[in-house]
């Protein structure tokens, strides 16, 4: 039995877990408990992932043949737009912070909840409101502008632009509410004696993400507001007919949307840091560098938005600045990859599903990151911009990075949240399906981009068909893997074997409380003297 488990069982008889403390519907929907709010976000974001994934599958089915397969061009255009909107704002941005940030962060700093529990609840319901409004656009006929809402097309499109921009605006408000909560919690609720440089890396990741969210999201709100007004009232802020400049919209939009991609990946980085340490039973190599690189990304990430606009008519001088800064931001991710790899060295490795997802992450994200350096090269981007190469790049880092990290987090913290184990063999099987399925979905798209197939294309020249078919095949495998994961996790919630408080033998702080935790996280404050990564002490495995 682990040292931690021994201590826990000698303490007072356990409180009921947060699941059973109060079981009325009202106690769930109006909860102030950060753990329950995390579970609510889990339900909301998982539904969004499923919806966005369904859109993607339909798209890929349509792309099986060069012309019409199952839908017309208008439906296709609406589907890819909605796939992007739902995935970015209803899944990628809220998922890891909303679920695991909410659940783990207070426990990791020894607090009983976040700084503003009611604000936390509100952030969930604002998320729901934003999601409902965004999805109302579907009922209103759908929106077909692309998730980037470029003007003048989005100002003139007859589709449900107004609903969508309003919904996303509201989702942005939810984001800012959560971010303020995390920043203040990390600053003010750390247990006595826990310094910044002793925090788990996941906390740093959530904190860094929250800073980006607070600074960048208002600019998104502004862009959406202006597009909405242009669309609804022809205010012409970006309309050349009225003296406006469509390029200014692009600047405003990308000023937010480039940091947004770091909002999406940084929490994933935090998960990966935790997973690699716990499953190699090693402290993370270069803890400080990982922290500094998080802030490097947060800061420099704001200076690189122009690399989305190399062919919009930018001056070569400006392009040079953006290109160079984009290279700098890449180095911070490289630092982390180095640190994670070296953390494995000399470790006592437990080959489990979370670690397999770690490998999937390294396999896919590193490749995706390198293609990021490639598209940041100005001359190469001239060819690749707005082709499938870019689509493949961002899916490698977003899906191969963030989704893989999300799945790693789900499995890593499953025993923590539910007190049960998931079936390990099924986990290994589905993670293989997910990683391989993903690879075959998006690797052909690099080649499609090289060949010159533009993105957002409903019909395409016949020579591109076999790559599209291969990509759709991969997507089916990916979907199977995800569905399998969903199934066994749901079953394991109720029928999984009991896990004990710390089945992985991790040293990190959240494992020092019961699994699942009681309503107020702990009966007695756990020991925070021993560090979150103190694996070298006490010799041997727990």
């Amino acid at each position: 039995m682990s040292v931690d488990e021994g201590m826990a069982s000698q303490a007072a008889p356990r409180e009921r877990s947060f699941w059973t403390a109060d079981t009325s519907v009202r106690s769930w929907l109006l909860t102030r408990d950060h753990k329950r709010i995390g579970i609510l976000f889990l339900v909301g974001t998982s539904l969004s992932l499923a919806l966005g994934g369904l859109f993607a599958l339909l798209l890929r089915l349509e792309l099986l043949t060069p012309d019409r397969t199952i839908m017309g061009p208008t439906t296709y255009n609406k589907l890819f737009t909605q796939h992007g909107v739902v995935m970015v704002w209803m899944f990628m941005i809220p998922a890891i912070p909303g679920i695991f940030g909410n659940f783990m962060l207070p426990i990791m700093i020894g607090a009983r909840d976040v700084a503003f529990p009611t604000l936390n609840l509100a952030s969930f319901w604002v998320y729901v409101l934003g999601a409902v409004v965004t999805l109302t656009a579907l009922a209103a006929g759908g929106v077909d502008t692309g998730w980037t809402f470029y003007v003048p097309y989005s100002a003139t499109s007859l589709s449900a632009v107004g609903w969508t921009v309003t919904g996303v605006f509201i989702l942005g408000i939810s984001t800012i509410m959560s971010a303020i909560n995390f920043i203040v919690t990390t600053h003010t609720l750390r247990v006595q004696g826990l310094g910044w440089m002793q925090l788990p890396l996941f906390v740093w990741a959530i904190y860094g993400t929250a800073i980006i969210q607070v600074v960048a999201t208002p600019v998104l709100g502004l862009s959406l507001l202006l597009v909405g007004l242009d669309h609804g009232f022809k205010l012409g802020i970006f309309d050349p007919q009225y003296g406006g400049d469509p390029i200014f919209y692009q600047h405003l939009f990308w000023f937010y949307s480039h940091p947004a991609v770091y909002i999406m990946i940084l929490p994933g980085f935090g998960v990966i840091s935790e997973v690699v340490s716990s499953f190699s039973h090693n402290p993370p190599v270069s803890y400080r560098l990982i922290v500094y690189s998080t802030f490097g990304i947060s800061f420099v990430g704001f200076l690189t938005w122009g690399h989305h606009m190399f062919v919009s008519g930018m001056s070569t001088f400006d392009a040079g600045i953006f290109g160079l800064l984009s290279m700098f931001v890449a180095i911070f991710s490289a630092i982390k990859v180095f640190a994670w790899t070296m953390t494995l060295r000399g470790g006592a490795i437990s080959l489990t599903t979370p670690l397999l997802y770690f490998f999937g992450f390294m396999f896919l994200f590193v490749f995706g990151g390198m293609t990021g350096v490639a598209v940041a090269s100005e001359s190469l981007d001239v060819h690749w911009h707005d082709t499938y190469f870019v689509v493949a790049h961002f899916h490698f880092v977003m899906v191969g990075g963030t989704l893989t990290a999300f799945l790693a987090a789900l499995h890593y913290w499953f025993p923590k949240m539910t007190g049960r184990r998931y079936p390990e063999r099924l986990g290994i099987a589905s993670s293989s399906l997910v990683v391989l399925g993903f690879f075959f979905t998006f690797m052909p798209q690099f080649l499609l981009g090289n060949a010159g197939m533009p993105r957002r294309y409903y019909s395409y020249p016949e020579a591109y068909q076999w790559l599209n078919v291969l990509s759709t095949g991969g997507a089916s495998v990916l979907a199977c893997g995800l569905l399998l994961t969903l199934s066994y996790l749901c079953v394991a919630c109720v029928r999984g074997a009991p896990a004990g408080d710390n089945p992985w033998g991790s040293r990190c702080f959240e494992w020092r409380v019961a699994s699942p935790p009681p309503k107020h996280n702990f009966t007695e404050l756990p020991d925070f003297e021993r560090g979150a990564y103190a694996y070298a002490e006490e010799g041997g495995l727990p």
């Binding site: 097309y153 290109g323 060295r345």
Partner: protein, 383 residues
């Protein structure tokens, strides 16, 4: 080596002066990246394998510190590599964005969902951009409505077409041929059908093509006018000429001739039929209506169709207009057999550069004998 990489990575032929250099950077970057990626993966797998063997029995782990110079060395190497890539990429980008001084200027106007081109001497064309091979061509690009993007994969060039602005691109085609042109900024319904070709001709042929279309008395008229009627001799009847004009001018992108519903009203059975207009009137589609529809299409919009047809006033000559009307006449009793499948990418007929010269004027120096030349449509295009 270059060719091997190009085929492996499925890049199009390197048909412009910049393509080869850009591809070289590409190949170098991909190679180093893949090696680095494999390095990271191998290291990880190695550490895991080692960890599995020693970890299970709880044996104390050995010295864990790796050499302290390793981390700065790796980061330094990566940073230098990234900056080096930037230097090369930026230099190439400056070259791609800076047209040479002695370029042939072409004005490119993008519009939902077609490309039109105009030269300084009044020559004009649509969908197909004719250029001389081996000479630099500067494109002055704008859009009439939303943002589009001018993309020729074989040239490795791209530039957005922004309404209210003029953007510049240039290229030098290294050999004659026909290269696909695609719109690559999402612009609505037919974004994926907004395609064309860049047709590079031998400089002599290009001059011939251009000169043939300049009527010295009426330089304001569009290029093809002089060619119609003379390309295949006067034996062609007007309706057949109209069929050719319809194809060359891209009318068939939006209008079918067999009754299949598409973006514009089908011409099958159109002539002398009753049409319902959006202003409530019902009129007969006679010659006058057909002509008005070409010159001022949005004035009498038919019920059930969007206001997207451009005006051809000043673009079609009288001869071409007449030919089109005659062609629509000939379809009065055409069977209306709508297909379930939508239209494929409209036909791109081979471009014919006529053999005979334009009727000479006194003092005309002998213009070079032009061959009948059919520029093959590339295999990547759907017929």
């Amino acid at each position: 080596m270059n060719e091997l990489f190009r085929r492996l990575l499925m890049l199009p032929p390197q048909a412009s002066s910049v393509a080869r250099d850009v591809d070289t950077l590409h190949f170098a970057l991909i190679s180093v990246s893949v090696l680095g990626w494999l390095g990271v993966l191998s290291a990880s797998i190695w550490f895991v394998v080692r960890g599995r063997r020693t970890g299970e029995n709880g044996a104390p782990r050995g010295l864990r510190k790796f050499p302290s110079w390793l981390e700065p060395a790796v980061i330094g190497a990566l940073l230098s590599g990234f900056v080096g890539v930037w230097l090369i990429g930026h230099a190439q980008y400056v070259h791609i964005q800076t047209p040479p001084r002695e370029s042939l200027d072409v004005y490119v106007v993008a519009k939902q969902w077609m490309w039109s081109f105009a030269y300084e001497d009044g020559t004009a064309s649509q969908h197909d951009l004719f250029v001389p091979a081996r000479r630099p061509v500067r494109l002055l690009i704008t859009s009439r409505d939303v943002v589009h993007s001018f993309f020729v994969p074989a040239f490795r060039i791209k530039q957005d077409a922004v309404p209210g602005r003029m953007t510049v691109a240039w290229f030098r085609a290294t050999q004659p041929g026909s290269y696909p042109l695609l719109c690559t900024e999402y612009c609505g319904l037919s974004h994926s059908r907004m395609r064309g070709r860049v047709i590079a001709l031998e400089p002599a042929h290009f001059e011939g093509w251009r000169r043939r279309f300049i009527d010295r008395d009426r330089p304001e008229l569009s290029a093809i006018s002089a060619g119609v009627g003379r390309a295949r001799g006067a034996t062609d009847d007007l309706a057949s000429q109209g069929e050719r004009v319809a194809s060359e001018r891209g009318c068939t992108r939006c209008h079918t001739i067999d009754g299949t519903p598409h973006l514009g009203p089908s011409w099958a059975g159109l002539y002398r039929s009753q049409v319902a207009l959006q202003d409530g009137r019902r009129i007969t589609a006679d010659d006058a209506y057909l002509t008005r529809s070409m010159m001022d299409p949005l004035h009498e919009l038919r019920v059930g169709f969007q206001a997207i047809m451009p005006s051809y006033l000043g673009e079609l000559s009288a001869a071409e207009t007449g030919a089109l009307v005659a062609f629509i006449h000939s379809l009065e009793r055409a069977p209306s057999a709508p297909r379930r499948a939508p239209l494929p990418y409209p036909s791109t007929t081979p471009v014919v550069v006529p053999a005979q010269r334009a009727p000479g004027k006194p003092g005309d120096s002998a213009s070079p004998q032009l061959e009948v030349e059919t520029i093959p449509t590339p295999a990547t295009e759907r017929p």
